[in-house]
Amino acid sequence: MEEFFNKIKESFQDATLEFETINIKVDSAEWIEVHKKLRDELNLKFFSWLSAIDWDNEVSVGEAPKESVSPSFEIITCLSDLANTNLVTVSTSISKSEPNIKSLIEVYDGANWHEREAYEMFGINFENHPNLEKLYLPDGYEGNPMLKSFELISREVKPWPGEVDVEGMPEESESGESADG
């Protein structure tokens, strides 16, 4: 892994390795070029997935970020090389007001459905995508569920029952017992 990271480091100076995951942060303008390079030069032919993160300070459900973030979409792809276990994630940031990015289909055929999913869940527009339409949700469904501003109506109607019994991990005494025995 270290070896591969150094190799990546040669081409991408600001690549990071944390928690055994290599991340390359790129500018959205060179999105396609970077992937082409990774595929052809570093042999990362296996397209694992593509997804996005909605960074926002105000959330309707769940927890808001602890530190203030600048609202944006972060798009992440995960590529790997099957023979050698090398794996990188590539991420880029795009603005929320103009969520446009080039489609990766010309580089990886498999990006098709992943991009449709991201389009549906986040409302991100992938340019040059052959059929950018809904993947999961029924026709006529409105809203992009994965946005942090999306409300889960059931939770509005009924409080979260999980609050009542916040269950810790198995008691420490229990694990102590098995350690003794």
Partner: protein, 165 residues
């Protein structure tokens, strides 16, 4: 049929008819999610629901007598569930298997899951569990058979609402 509406059937005949219905339940293969695998387990040699007269043959709703809604019903699937139920010929029964189809289960707050199949179709027997054990489903089937055997033809034809189990 007017005669039956007014007077009902004599007891022996109706009990024979009910017996036939309760032991020849053609089960519409309607596997949605996790519970469908448990239904497969019930059809397997260890539990074998064919003992009870459940025949898992029909792939078409037209020949089915009851369906086991086994798994999560999503909002996208809901119209199909309703339609398949409507395509089944009377008299027909529904077993709702598992928390998901009973009430939404672990996905109670999801944006795409129907919270309970009883919002779409009438349910005769609810089987709790996530997923219910095969024994639980068998119990559900036996309860359904009991219910069928206790049915009154007259009420059935007059479409009297019955309490779910």
């Amino acid at each position: 049929m007017g005669v039956v509406d007014k007077f009902g059937l004599p007891k022996p005949i109706s009990s024979v008819f009910n017996w036939a219905r309760s032991y020849s339940l053609w089960y519409f293969q309607f596997g949605l999610a996790c519970c469908a695998i448990e239904v497969m387990a019930v059809s397997g040699p260890r539990h074998d629901f064919m003992r009870l007269g459940i025949i898992p043959l029909p792939a078409s709703p037209r020949q089915a007598d009851f369906m086991i809604v086994a798994g999560t019903v999503t909002d996208k699937m809901a119209p199909s569930v309703k339609r398949l139920y409507d395509q089944m010929p009377e008299p027909k029964y529904v077993i709702s298997m598992g928390s998901c189809s009973n009430s939404g289960g672990p996905y109670w707050d999801s944006y795409s899951v129907t919270k309970g199949v009883d919002q779409l179709i009438p349910v005769d027997v609810y089987v709790p569990g996530c997923p219910p054990r095969p024994e639980a489903l068998q119990e559900g089937i036996i309860l359904l058979q009991k219910k069928i055997r206790g049915e009154d033809m007259k009420e059935k034809w007059l479409e009297v609402q019955t309490e779910p189990i």
